[in-house]
């Protein structure tokens, strides 16, 4: 649960080992003394070293220091919180290692937490902590409490304990062995999962800075009339994937189409969202995973769909086949592969995890998920070279070469595929 301390959070002088100096360590080296008279800490504090959370020594004396009047930025708040949680996590580990609580008591108290806490969505990030609980639970304490308010009761419990101790010991020994075997298996699995996670991280492309990713403003796009025509009359809900500022969603709803949009950038659609347009800030594929099968009558795909890595593209095609209804329409806009290197920003061109496909390839992929009818439209900036005039020397051969270059390398830089089933 507690995030590992990151490099930027470790800008503090190396800690001396106070135990070696005969000094008990301060539980919170970064904060200083407790407020006098409020509560007594069993562990007396050591002199405060440099703080990593507060601004300087004056911040750590527990007194009401002057608070900055400027509002804390979200990033600064997050950093502060992460740092505090990190320090708390380290202190938790230190106290656990100190053994000041009997293991059985600590295990009992942790079990109490689990009893009142669901193991659901949060479990993914708590693998190691949950595993530690499994380890602790794998030990069964044979030392049955025999205390009783009545002397007879205590004697009776002792008698029972002594009488069946050998039997219980035999059984419990096997249960503990089983528990530890299972626990060991989990350790192997967790190690393996973490190895895999690290491997996946290594092969991932570096992310593109969001500032270079083009954000869609449908008001200025050539393909809008065709896309609107294609979506008119679809009988159900229409999703615009990577909808940018939501302009096209508004255009659809103005024509009576039940439309909504998703875009991974929370800021770009903020204005439309505030004015009541149904927009969600999440990645397209993540969103489609959470859509009921057959729920969508139309999907418009723009934006980074064109540069998806192959695995994501395959997943997208699978999701299109299941999430769209029997009679549905798909519109997909993309840059041509020929225009990719010159038409996109250099950073997008270099760092995008995939490359645009030819329209024929998309048609082929869409046919695999049941889209039969497809139309292709070309548009966008026309990069063709104009032919030279007839009075130009060698005009015929020059124009022949220009035609060949235009046909093979240039031409409209974008296309739109409209497919239906």
């Amino acid at each position: 649960m507690f995030p590992a301390c990151r490099a930027e959070h470790t800008l503090r002088p190396p800690r001396l080992v106070p135990e070696l100096l005969g000094v008990r360590p301060n539980p919170f080296p970064d904060q200083g003394a407790p407020e006098p008279g409020r509560y007594s800490d069993p562990v007396p504090p050591a002199p405060p070293p440099q703080s990593s959370v507060a601004g300087g020594p004056g911040d750590r004396d527990g007194a009401e220091g002057p608070e900055s009047s400027e509002p804390l930025e979200a990033a600064a708040r997050t950093r502060h919180l992460d740092q505090v949680i990190c320090e708390i996590g380290a202190e938790v580990e230190r106290r656990r290692a100190s053994g000041d609580l009997p293991a059985s008591l600590e295990s009992e108290l942790d079990a109490l937490f689990l009893e009142f806490s669901p193991v659901g969505l949060q479990a993914k990030s708590r693998m190691r902590q949950t595993l530690a609980l499994v380890d602790r639970s794998a030990y069964i304490d044979l030392a049955v409490p025999v205390a009783s308010r009545k002397v007879v009761g205590r004697s009776l419990k002792r008698l029972i304990k002594a009488g069946i101790g050998w039997y219980m010991g035999f059984v419990v020994h096997q249960i503990i062995r089983f528990g530890w075997s299972v626990s060991r298996l989990f350790h192997v699995l967790v190690d393996r999962v973490e190895d895999l996670e690290r491997s996946v991280e290594r092969v991932q492309d570096p992310g593109m800075p969001s500032s270079v990713v083009p954000r869609l403003d449908a008001a200025r796009q050539w393909w809008v009339p065709e896309a609107l025509r294609a979506m008119t009359g679809v009988g159900g809900r229409v999703l615009h994937g990577e909808c940018g500022n939501g302009t096209f969603v508004v255009m659809l709803t103005e024509r009576g189409i039940d439309a909504y949009g998703v875009d991974p950038d929370a800021q770009v659609g903020r204005e439309a969202l505030d004015s009541g347009v149904d927009l969600r800030s999440e990645p397209l594929i993540d969103h489609l995973e959470l859509v009921e099968p057959g729920a969508l009558a139309g999907i418009v795909l723009t934006g980074s769909v064109q540069w998806l890595p192959s695995g994501d593209r395959r997943r997208l095609v699978d999701l299109l086949s299941t999430r769209m209804s029997e009679r549905s329409v798909l519109v997909l806009q993309s840059m041509t592969p020929e225009a990719w290197s010159t038409g996109s920003s250099p950073i997008v061109g270099d760092l995008a995890p995939g490359r645009p496909l030819h329209p024929e390839t998309w048609i082929h992929l869409l046919q695999t998920c049941g889209f039969a009818t497809s139309e292709v439209f070309s548009g966008g900036q026309d990069r063709r070279i104009d032919p030279v005039g007839p009075d130009h020397p060698g005009a015929t051969s020059v124009n022949g070469a220009i035609d060949a270059v235009n046909r093979l390398l240039l031409g409209p830089e974008e296309y739109l595929v409209v497919a239906s089933r």
Binding site: M1, F28, G32, E64, F113, F116, S117, E292
Partner: protein, 420 residues
């Protein structure tokens, strides 16, 4: 624009986050020009017994027309037995079993179902998901139904009947992004119109008295918990953790449980249990606390967190609770614990670092001011309801009949006689 809110219990005395949220939304929405708001609810106020303590009929409360219908008898014993059995593996329960669970969970109000069916509202709003009032309304309403699930990751969420109900709702309003993620993951409801709304919060109504005086502990520092004192809200865990904490630290720190007690009142010389208190008392106690602790893992919004922050008090929450964790992460106004050790260490840290407490409290206060003021909330909400109403009913409620069996059309159970 007319809105009919459907909720199992309604009224100022009702304890329950979702029910309180419904009342607040209804009372704020009815003040908007052009909005007509009615509430359709049961005659019960108490969650556990669901006894018909309120008179049947229609009355206007704080500008809202409230129609109450008597609840049918149910067997609490049978409910507990079935619940214990189903909660082990709820997703494998049959539809029949989960329908029976729903009936036993109550309140079952045949009159309420008829009123929803015949309502002339433009949109029906139901909350929370867990009750027959919601499932029946989704099944019979002729107009679009918006559900405020108020869902948390609990066994009942996975009973098969709820998947069907979520599929047939026309829109969802969530209190937090965590709740939305949970529902969408559980029911693949992402394509439905939805809104992460939260709730608004009014100005504190404390009158500036010292919280310690109200609690009878003088100037002793104290932690406080505000809400229903219930094992399921993590109160037993908090009690035991606090007692263990005090065993190790001989100070004058106290813990106050502020709210009605469901089962057993915590008992310890350093623990104060107030029972239900008046709003000004609650605010004064809250304002005087060092830290407000919410140990519950089952929260869908947690209004009390925002109340704490609005008076600048930092919070400590259960790390397993998505909603409260989301608030803390977004605001930077609170910390969390996921074991006794982290509880102990975090309390130590919070108590010994007054500057950090203030910093957390201030961050929380800013968060509340930015996101949870009523005018903003209610404007967004009204616009969303208009949008859903404009789409019309997108699902045929008749398709739900096979799931709900003959209960909605069959003979009605005799209502429990209203108590004085």
């Amino acid at each position: 624009m007319k809105v009919a809110f459907v909720t199992p219990r309604y009224g100022e005395g009702v304890i329950g986050g979702a029910e309180t949220a419904t009342r607040m939304l209804a009372e704020h929405l009815c003040r908007l020009p052009g909005w007509d708001v009615e509430v359709i609810t049961s005659c019960a106020l108490d969650r556990l017994m669901l006894a018909n303590t309120e008179p049947e009929g229609t009355a206007v409360t704080n500008g809202v027309s409230v129609s109450r219908f008597p609840t049918a008898e149910r067997s609490v014993r049978e409910h507990v037995a079935l619940d214990s059995r189903l909660r082990v593996s709820p997703s494998t329960a049959t539809v029949g079993e989960s329908m029976r669970w729903l009936e036993l969970n109550g309140p079952l109000c045949p009159g309420l179902t008829d009123a929803v069916r015949e309502s002339n509202a433009d949109v029906v709003v139901c909350s929370p998901y867990l009750f027959a009032t919601t499932t029946d309304s989704v099944a019979v309403s002729r107009v679009p139904v918006v559900v405020h699930p108020a869902a948390h990751d609990e066994p009942a969420l996975y009973l098969p009947v709820f998947a069907t109900i979520f599929r047939h709702a026309d829109g969802f309003v969530y209190y937090t992004g965590a709740e939305r993620a949970l529902v969408e993951r559980a029911f693949r409801a992402a394509s439905k119109p939805q809104l992460v709304l939260g709730l608004g919060i009014g100005d504190p109504v404390g009158v500036g008295r010292a919280g310690g005086d109200l609690l009878g502990i003088g100037e002793r520092p104290y932690l406080c918990y505000v809400g229903r004192v219930d094992e399921h809200k993590g109160c037993r865990m908090l009690e035991e953790y606090f007692i263990r904490y005090k065993l190790q630290r001989k100070g004058d720190l106290a813990l106050a449980f502020v709210g009605p007690v469901s089962e057993r009142a915590p008992s310890h010389p350093d623990i104060v249990v107030t029972g239900a208190v008046a709003e000004p008392d609650k605010w004064d106690i809250l304002a005087g606390a060092e830290v407000m602790v919410n140990p519950s893992a089952y929260e869908s919004f947690s209004l009390v967190l925002l109340e704490s922050w609005s008076v600048g008090v930092p919070v400590l929450v259960n790390a397993a609770c998505g909603a409260t964790m989301e608030h803390c992460r977004r605001s930077g106004g609170g910390l969390w614990f996921d074991s006794y050790r982290s509880f102990e260490v975090t309390i130590d840290r919070l108590l010994t670092d007054r500057r950090m407490r203030r910093r957390l409290g201030d961050a929380g206060q800013r968060y509340v001011h930015q996101h949870f003021r009523w005018p903003t909330i209610i404007e967004r909400y009204g616009r969303f309801l208009q949008g859903v109403s404009g789409r019309g009913r997108t699902n045929d409620p008749g398709r739900l009949s096979p799931v709900l069996g003959g209960r909605l059309t069959g003979p009605q159970k005799k209502p429990h006689p209203a108590r004085e």
